[in-house]
Amino acid sequence: MSDLLRIEDLHTQFHVHGGTVKAVDGVNLTIPARATVGLVGESGSGKSITALSIMRLLEKNGRITQGHVWFHDRDLIGLPDEEMQDIRGNDISMIFQEPMTALNPVFTVGDQIAEAVRLHQKVDHQAGLNRAIEMLRLVGISDPKRRAGQYPHELSGGMRQRVMIAMALSTSPELLIADEPTTALDVTIQAQILKLMRNLKGEFGSAILLITHDLGVVAEMCDSVAVMYAGRIVEQATTEELFASPKHPYTQGLLASIPRLGKKQERLHVITGSVPNPLAVPPGCAFRPRCPIKAPRSDRDIPPLTANGSAEHLVACWQYE
């Protein structure tokens, strides 16, 4: 499989009152064409910032300080703004966590979808609107013609997320970045949206970078998965491999904290402590304060992400040195 997107040593920093936050601190990640890759981590682990860095949509105080994002053979990081705009929404689309606030309240949903189509496919207003209606039908919205003329506040949360998906896929992008697409939705709606994404992926052939904190979603959707902690990827493997034999203590902790049906457990595992203060990350391995193993070198040096077992299974922990 050819690589669609390759992130190399990406560093993204935020200047805040009181210091610099290294939100993304040397991330390497590859997304093959048509694959679904999961990016898992707690709030503040840097997974959303990684996605926004790919799209170059960081807030003003955020800056990509180092690294490359290769899309085919173009480095998105150095790209002029105009060329980046051509890629956004056209080759790479993104859907966000909050369907309630991600749509502009003063424009109809049809107009908002059509805007992307008109922009990238250079078609007229009517053609854009027709495409929007077609997309609304594809994402399973009944009476799409009427819905296209409605405003976001007239739609439910699940429907708005469908609209977001319709908007993102309307230009048939090669890569869809989905940042917690189901987190804000009811459980039943979540399942519907995930199913919809799977189906549409088959239809459009887009690769998906799925950002989530929900390992259940990963198991259901992803071919491979990367686990992020404090701005770095700590483990990466195919989904089956990761679930079958997690290597990093953090991944092990995450998996152990999922309640399982049919398996008798004394009590649910809890990872003690909390994510380090982003302004004062401890030296060495960021997970050390919470780590049950505390490998010898981890208090001084940051462990590199290296192959362990197979070439596909990467882990960053000194215990495997």
Binding site: I49, G62, Q97, E98, L279, A280
Partner: protein
């Protein structure tokens, strides 16, 4: 009723933009600042530490704000001069030096800022006027706090008809030209005594603080710590005074501070129209009453001094108020 979104200006509880759940907050909270101040100590452990309490932190933050601190110094000088100097100079402001009317400023130490058409010392009158301005400003704001704070708190806490009546009444008064209302009421009550002016301003201007207090109480009465106090059997009075009020204070303090400058300007306008303290007692407003005469006869300093004193004072108070706002709510800005 129209659901008009609140205006973003001066909202005391503006949410942090761009920091939804699951995203890295790019602004630090008080907790984080504490964590920075004392690395290695968790915020929770420090929350009860008196040496870095909310108010102390606020003072520290205020003093770091250079412009606000400078404004506070200027304001301090004005207040001290207004309070102390007239005690020493006595009734100098009303002594008419018939030999020296319209004496130009910076010519002699006897009349440093010159004299007016009656030979009254301009500097002494300015300082005496500052007294009037500050007194009206402070007393009327106290009135705002008593009326607006009290009614706002009750309306926000109990809701119901009181709340409805208050909000509707506020709607009317806020939509009226304040100056006209005050003039009409002052005119109607026939008084140009200072006490009348203060009472009328307080009685017609408390609405903003009333609304603010109501909003604070509406939010706070639903908070867990209030529910907890209620569950423990605390009386309404105790809940209002001990649990909600201290937490509602921050925006009220800011609004009250800014209110003082608003009142000073209003009193000046009233004095200018002859509806505040009458001559010979000087106020910055009534010192400007004869501005046409001064301008036509080229005695511009008699216009410049009181007008500028007014603007500097109002500006200094506003800057201090904004400094307090920033100090109390570091998330703003």
């Amino acid at each position: 009723m129209a659901q008009v979104p609140p205006l973003p200006i001066g909202g005391a509880t503006g949410g942090l933009p761009g920091a939804g759940p699951g995203q890295l907050s790019v602004e630090t909270t008080v907790d984080q600042e504490r964590a920075i101040a004392q690395p290695g100590v968790k915020a929770d452990e420090l929350a009860g530490a008196p040496e870095l309490g909310f108010w102390k932190l606020a003072v520290i933050r205020f003093l770091h704000h250079r412009v606000a601190t400078g404004a506070l110094l200027i304001l301090g000088v004005i207040v001290v001069a207004a309070v102390v100097v007239p005690i020493i100079t006595g009734n100098l402001y009303s002594i008419q030096d018939y030999r020296h009317p319209y004496k130009a400023p910076f010519q002699s130490f006897q009349h440093l800022l010159g004299t007016d058409e009656l030979g009254q010392d301009e500097l002494a009158r300015l300082l005496r006027g500052a007294r009037v301005s500050l007194m009206v400003g402070i007393l009327a704001v106290v009135g705002y706090l008593i009326i607006g704070g009290g009614l706002g708190a009750l309306a926000g806490y109990y809701g119901g008809w009181l709340d409805n009546a208050l909000m509707r009444f506020t709607d009317i008064i806020i939509s009226m030209p304040f100056l006209l209302v005050v003039i009409a009421v002052t005119a109607a009550t026939g008084g140009v005594r200072l006490s009348t002016v203060i009472i009328v301003i307080a009685a017609t201007g408390w609405f903003e603080i009333g609304r603010l207090m109501r909003a604070q109480f509406l939010v706070l009465r639903e908070q867990e710590f209030v529910q907890a106090a209620r569950a423990l059997g605390a009386s309404n009075t105790r809940i209002i005074l001990r649990h909600i009020l201290p937490n509602a204070l921050a925006p009220i303090i800011v609004s009250a501070t800014l209110g003082v400058s608003g009142i000073i300007l209003l009193e000046a306008a009233l004095g200018f129209l002859g509806y505040s303290i009458p001559p010979p007692e000087p106020s910055w407003g009534n010192m400007l009453q004869n501005f046409e005469e001064y301008l036509l006869s080229d005695h511009t300093y008699l216009v410049i001094f009181p007008a500028t004193a007014l603007v500097i004072t109002a500006l200094a108070i506003n800057l201090v108020g904004d400094g307090i706002r920033d100090a109390l709510d570091p998330r703003q800005r």
